[in-house]
């Protein structure tokens, strides 16, 4: 069984290699090769899962060292895999959702000339993501971490002919570098502290290291998680990443890659447990981001950007839970999985809507689509109910647990975190209801397709003819089937996981679990959640359901405009980082020109001048030379005598 773990990574990697190196002759079958590779790794995952279930809780971990990667003196890095319940969860999520989205892309990318390359990148992403969650040491994890970053970059900028896509890809890459730097420094610190960076020894010995060290490592890991998972303050790239094709947004920027930060924090639990300050930072980041993303989600008219804000917010919940320590880890992961289902489903639904509406993304130009796209409506609707936490659906179980855990943190902190989580739930209900109403209910507000000058247009629009009114239709089966499967997951997953605390029991051997001492009872929390849920939905209904929606957005009040500008994230980055960087660069250039060049040129001039003077001693007269020798001899003798004297 151990040998199978490697093939999990190898299959999609081979797929990527074949697709990217295969050339045009694979154009016709490329998408099926990619989908097959994804499906095969899912099958392998299921086989491993079945095998794992056959063993008891403590014996479920598998480990396989493939080869010794960097053996240099005392430094040792292996390519080794570790498959425990946590990794297994991710493997199933990644390969399962991944396979569905591959299938969906077959339809979605049907008219794209570079479809083969697209599937190659998707396979590359799968391989890197699996490597990330299967690695048994931080260095190999880092390889996967960078690999998914690369795949994300390539896929966001897949339509590189659009300047906005190219810029968005660059932005995502640069912001992620900041986080990656944190991870690499954290790994170096681990090596100096523990002498290794394998999970086992590092986490076992974490309590022996000083708290200062652990706090430093924890904060650096948090920085890494912030970059990859789009948490404040490194959140700015996620909204722009929606420039990528919608399946990419669904797979990478909703279901899997962006949750890597949560994985990292959960995996490094032992480090955070020993560093309360770092944990406080984690919950702060989580709480701030869950509100930040939710507020941004309320203001966006672009359906994908609204969903991106939502993603940010939901990951904020997970980070918050992960920061709570053992009382939160299992729920962070549980929410991660359910979120993977419903958010992927929502994105695929959005893609299906865009597909039908000439790639229009402005929700104000949708409306009344429920009658034209029944399957999309139902699946999207189920995803909607799941994310707002409608009783009985996935989000209800997982989010409720996180809110409970936040209160269970105890003290003022618990009240603040719990309050933030509840507030977030209300806003979630509000903005998701808004999305739902704008898209599927109300009047038809359709507009002619955007003309080619407008940058938002995807190339496929040309084939469908611009300037015509859209005539929405249901998407082909290859796209609706994945949506149906994901919708089923959105409905059922939460309930299944909570049955007899199945998920908790499953994950406990890895993450551990503690019951917190909550000042409020579970019933109270559930009631409160349902109340805020109702309030959020009602508000949205009052604003968008009862009244007709204007096709062009009203100017809005100042807070609304700020929220539309992503709460000024880019302005702040521009002022603080870009301007600051420019000033720094200019002053460094100035120093370089004046001081460094001055010293260099001055030295050169001094040497040249000295040389000119000294060569005059070489006057060509043998008598002068003899005097020089005589003087030299005198000095030599004097110096020798002097050395003995002192």
């Amino acid at each position: 069984m151990e040998n199978l773990i490697g093939t999990l990574v190898l299959v999609p990697l081979l797929g990527a290699g074949v697709l990217l190196c295969g050339g045009r002759r694979l154009d016709r079958a490329g998408h099926w090769i990619g989908t097959f590779a994804a499906a095969l790794s899912f099958v392998i995952g299921v086989v491993l899962f079945a095998d794992m279930l056959g063993r008891s809780g403590e014996d479920r971990e598998l480990a396989a060292t493939v080869f010794s990667w960097v053996p240099v003196g005392g430094f040792r890095a292996d390519v080794g895999f570790q498959l425990d319940q946590l990794s297994m969860t991710f493997v199933l999520l990644i390969t399962g959702v991944g396979s569905l989205i591959h299938l969906y892309s077959v339809g979605y990318m049907a008219h794209d000339e570079r479809r083969r390359r697209f599937f190659g990148y998707l396979n590359l992403f799968l391989a890197a993501m699996l490597l990330l969650v299967l690695a048994d040491n931080y260095l190999l994890l880092y390889v996967g971490w960078e690999g998914v970053g690369l795949a994300s970059y390539l896929l966001i900028g897949f339509w590189q002919h659009k300047p906005s896509a190219a810029t968005a890809a660059k932005k995502a890459f640069l912001v992620n570098r900041v986080g990656d730097m944190g991870l690499s420094i954290a790994i170096m610190l681990m090596f100096t502290t523990f002498g290794t960076f394998a999970f086992g020894p590092v986490l076992e010995n974490a309590d022996k290291a000083g708290e200062g060290r652990l706090t430093a490592i924890g904060l650096l890991l948090l920085l890494a998680a912030c970059g990859k998972s789009a948490q404040v303050p490194l959140q700015s790239w996620l909204g722009d990443a929606m420039e990528g094709p919608t399946p990419v947004s669904a797979l990478i920027h909703a279901a899997t890659m962006v949750t890597a930060g949560v994985y990292l924090i959960t995996r490094s639990g032992a480090i955070f447990d020993g560093a309360p300050d770092a944990q406080t930072a984690v919950v702060t980041v989580g709480a701030v981001t869950l509100l930040f993303g939710a507020i941004v989600g309320c203001a966006k008219d672009d359906i994908k950007k609204a969903l991106a804000g939502s993603t940010m917010s939901q990951i904020g919940y997970m980070v918050l839970a992960a920061g709570l320590g053992p009382i939160g880890y299992p729920f962070a992961i549980m929410h991660l999985v359910t979120h993977g289902f419903f958010k992927a489903g929502l994105f695929l639904g959005a893609g299906s809507v865009m597909h039908a509406m000439n790639d229009e993304v402005d929700m104000r130009r949708y409306g009344g689509l429920r009658r034209y796209m029944p399957i999309t409506f139902v699946t999207f609707g189920l995803g909607y109910l799941a994310i707002i936490g409608f009783p009985g659906l996935s989000g209800f179980f997982s989010k409720d647990k996180i809110i409970e855990a936040a209160f269970a943190k105890g003290g003022t902190e618990g009240w603040i975190l719990g309050g933030a989580a509840l507030l977030g739930a209300a806003i979630t209900a509000y903005y998701m209801t808004r999305v739902m109403l704008l898209t599927f209910f109300g009047e038809k507000r359709w507009q002619p397709a955007p003309s080619p000058e407008e940058p938002g247009a995807e190339p496929a629009a040309e084939t469908r003819g611009e300037g015509r009114m859209p005539h929405p239709h249901e998407s082909p089966k290859v796209m609706t089937i994945p949506m149906i499967v994901l919708a089923a997951g959105s409905v059922l997953a939460g309930g299944l996981f909570s049955l007899n605390d199945a998920f908790l029991t499953w994950l406990e051997p890895v993450t551990g679990h503690e019951e917190g001492h909550s000042p409020v009872t579970a019933v109270q929390v559930t009631t409160a959640t349902l109340v805020v849920l109702f309030v959020g939905v009602a508000l949205a209904w009052a604003q968008y359901g009862r009244r007709p929606v204007p096709v062009t957005a009203p100017p809005g009040s100042l807070p609304v405009r700020i929220a539309r500008r992503d709460l000024l994230q880019d302005d702040i980055n521009h002022i603080v980082l870009v301007r600051g960087g420019e000033h720094l660069t200019r002053s460094l250039v100035y120093v370089d020109h004046t001081l460094v060049d001055g010293v260099v040129n001055g030295t050169a001039a001094a040497v040249g001048g000295l040389s000119g003077r000294m060569r005059r001693l070489q006057n060509g007269f043998a008598r002068s030379y003899a005097v020089s020798m005589f003087g030299g001899a005198a000095v030599l003798i004097a110096a020798t005598l002097l050395m003995r004297a002192v």
């Binding site: 070489q618 060509g620 003899a626 030299g632 001899a633 000095v635 110096a639």
Partner: protein, 551 residues
Amino acid sequence: MSHVETVHSLWTLAAAEAPKKIPGPHIEYVQLSPTLIVLGAALLGVLAEAFLPRGVRHRAQLGLAALGLAAAFAAVVALAAGGYASDKSHVAAMGAVAVDGPALFLQGTILLVALVAVFTFAERRLDPAADGRPVDSFAAQAAAVPGGDAEREAVAAGMVTTEVFPLVLFAVGGMLVFPAADDLLTLFVALEVFSLPLYILCGLARRQRLLSQESAVKYFLLGAFSSAFLLFGIALLYGYAGTVTYAGIADVVSGTTRVMDPALAGSTANDALLLVGVAMVLMGLLFKVGAVPFHMWTPDVYQGAPTPVTGFMAAATKVAAFGALLRLLYVVLPGMRWDWRPVMWGVAIVTMLVGAIVAVTQTDVKRLLAYSSIAHAGFILAGVIAATPDGVSSVLFYLAAYSFVTLGAFAVVTLVRDAGGEATHLSKWAGLGRRSPLVAAVFAVFLLAFAGIPLTSGFAGKFAVFKAAAQGGAAPLVIVGVLSSAIAAFFYIRVIVLMFFSEPKADGPTVAVPSPLTSSAIAIGVAVTLVLGLAPQYFLELAGQAGVFVR
């Protein structure tokens, strides 16, 4: 007793005592064979000069010299293979000449350098033929007044100075003994044996004879001046120790034996004599290696001497002189390391800096290379000062590497010519890379090696020397050395820039097509430079094995 009786008794006394036989010296001919072969070839060369017809002399002399040098080299290799470089090393010829690792290594280097140099001496295709006869770099008749009737006649008669070959062989003979000399008198004799032929050779240039003769006179005068110091130093050391053998002096220095010569009782072990004597002997050797402030002759002589002679002198003299300096410091004076090291520190620092700095403003290629050789003398001194076995082996390696680079560089200089002979002014080298990419590229390789750029022998040598110096506790010296290298890199690279990135001048020099002799000399230079740069390990180990002096 009357006066007559006294005389008588003296007579009878003398008659009564059987006259003592002076024992014949014990000479290990086999172990001295390298030197003997070279000197023998030189004598044969003199005979050839006297008896062979003019027409065949050039060829005969070249063959004789090459054969002699090759045979001597073979003898060195045989001796080294026979264990004389390690466990069988000892002092031969009644304590006069050492046969040990450093001596054999340096002798081998000198012989190879000389062999290659002889090729450049014999080059006859560069200068335009005089009256249909090919001529070499040397004056038609050395004794003729430059520009006078006699010179014209000699040129017209097609005379050539084939005496240069025996002269080189004599010089090589002296150089072979110099680093092996194990007493001060042998040292002095060897010095004069190799210096006198060099003085003559310097004055033999065919072109620019006045400059050449001036350089010869200067070299001779200053050489004689420094020899006087050396000799005086030897006298003082004899006064101090009562002996001139290295081992004997070393024993007195370290206090293990006291010489009981009543005639010297007043002066024996007088430290003032020792210190002054050491300083003077050192000065004599520093003059030969061209260390500041005894370097002033170098640029003038390098510029004036015929270029093949300059190349030979710059390479071989340096090897021989540093060999002698090493032996003196490591065998005679280890006991007074604390006296000579600070002084040598000063000399090394000044040498490196002055050589590098003054070279910056030079406009003549040969003078540039002269200053470069001064700077390199400083670098080598840094290794000498290390006073460790690593120091010895690094200096040996550096000398081998440096000598071939120098030889090759000067050989390239002989190729770049205009109507007045060699075009040595740097401005004429502008754009050479466009006209003769190969020659310019080869010269660039030598310059990079001088500058100590990795993958050339210069880097390996410099690294070895600086490493030894740093480990020997001379870190400041290494810092100065690196700074000087940086300055030196400027003028080496400047020549490369000049050759490759400047427009060629309309009336620029031409690059002569040499015979296989010079070509092979240059090719050997490039090959050694690259091999020692790319795979120095074997040769470093060889130098390391050869790094132990016999006492």
